[in-house]
């Protein structure tokens, strides 16, 4: 599923805020480009990548601008150590520590620190699971299409978008779209409408 081929699942957002210049747009993409995991306990990473290939970071300038659209992708990687494996490894380490130092008991703090150490070691061996969502930003129309379908990915997109470009994203749901299509009708008056009652007495 992508903008390039196959079926699409799309969500549309209204972009609120000043449209960045091409230079600012590319700078935002560069500044928050996806960066792979390094040492540490981090389990999630996100950033921008090229829409053609998730390994191209930051997105290549000549492929970002497509007529009035800016096209790029949001890459969200997660990595997780299976809890059973972590527990088993910590247990073995604890046993060997107790034996080595002739301890009858290991305190909570030392136990937590050992667990973090083991987790960091194991995380280095875990391959991250990447999730890529394409973004097509209509710079002239102030609209954005994305293939991000889960609410988690959409929240990540909204957060990173405002950080990189200073623009807010609002989901283009019925009320907002209505306000855009019928500018003379206020959103308040649309909200004041009562839903139709279509229940039939005979039913």
């Amino acid at each position: 599923m992508s903008l390039l081929q196959g079926t699409l699942s799309l969500r549309r957002f209204l972009v609120l805020g000043p449209v960045p210049t091409e230079a600012d747009l590319l700078e935002g993409l560069r500044q928050d480009a996806f960066r792979p995991f390094e040492d540490g306990l981090e389990e999630e990473r996100l950033g921008w990548c090229d829409w053609r290939n998730l390994l191209i970071t930051p997105p290549e300038a000549e492929w970002v601008t497509q007529e009035r659209f800016a096209i790029f992708s949001l890459r969200l990687d997660t990595r997780k150590v299976p809890s059973a494996l972590l527990k088993a490894q910590v247990e073995l380490k604890l046993q060997s520590l107790q034996k080595e130092k002739d301890l009858a008991f290991v305190g909570k703090e030392a136990r937590t620190s050992l667990q973090d150490e083991v987790k960091a070691e194991l995380l280095l061996k875990v391959l991250p699971t990447p999730r890529v969502s394409e973004v097509a930003w209509d710079l002239k129309g102030g609209m954005l299409w994305t293939t991000a379908s889960s609410s988690k990915t959409q929240s990540a997109l909204i957060g990173l978008f405002i950080k990189s470009f200073g623009c807010e994203l609002q989901p283009l749901a019925p009320l907002l779209l209505a306000g855009r299509l019928l500018p003379r009708v206020s959103v308040e008056s649309l909200m004041a409408l009562d839903p139709f009652d279509l229940t039939l007495e005979t039913a």
């Binding site: 390039l4 749901a173 009320l175 009708v185 009652d197 039913a203």
Partner: protein, 186 residues
């Protein structure tokens, strides 16, 4: 107002829009009713109905012809409302199919008309054009629905109720109103 509250507040408009599309698909040959618009839009072979009342909260009607089924009309007349519907949109020799959600008007499993371009840049440009083209047809309909909804809500409510009554009585009268010579057939 928070974005999710705005989505929730407008859910009923999305549900009624799906009903309006459904009704026009069966009674007006799927036309939008707008001058010069040659496109047509129909509810296709999948509808999900929901309600907060009663024993059954969700009803999925799939395959066959759910849009004209007695089950669908009975559920609607008991107050169930469409949460999702698969829609087929036709304009000239182009066809879009997709599932539209009432709450956020989000589009899933969208199948675009075929493109000719072979290179990536051309394909994306073509597909974005086709995407916008399809959504413009849908937005035009949403605008037409909103005009009727805001200008004369009582009249639209009565039309929808009459359509449901016809649907319950039998589909002969329901589809009989379709003109023989529909613009999108030309």
């Amino acid at each position: 107002m928070k974005p999710m509250e705005l989505v929730e507040q407008g859910r009923f408009l999305g549900e009624e829009f799906l009903l309006w599309l459904w009704m026009r698909g069966l009674t007006e040959g799927g036309t939008s009713g707008l001058d010069g618009d040659q496109s047509a839009c129909f509810v296709d072979d999948s509808v999900q109905l929901v309600t907060e009342r009663g024993d059954v909260k969700e009803l999925s009607l799939r395959k066959g012809n759910p849009a004209e089924s007695r089950e669908a009309f009975e559920a609607l007349s008991r107050g169930m409302r469409p949460a999702k519907a698969k829609v087929r949109l036709l304009s000239g020799d182009m066809e879009w199919t997709f599932t539209i959600g009432a709450a956020g008007l989000d589009v899933s499993t969208l199948k675009l008309p075929p493109t000719q371009s072979k290179d990536n840049q051309g394909r994306v440009a073509d597909r974005l054009f086709l995407l916008e083209e399809g959504m413009t047809h849908l937005e035009r309909r949403f605008e037409a629905f909103l005009r009727q909804r805001t200008q004369d809500p009582d009249e639209l409510q009565e039309r929808l109720r009459a359509w449901l009554r016809h649907g319950l009585e039998g589909l002969e009268g329901l589809v009989g109103a379709v003109a023989d010579d529909l613009p999108w057939q030309g």
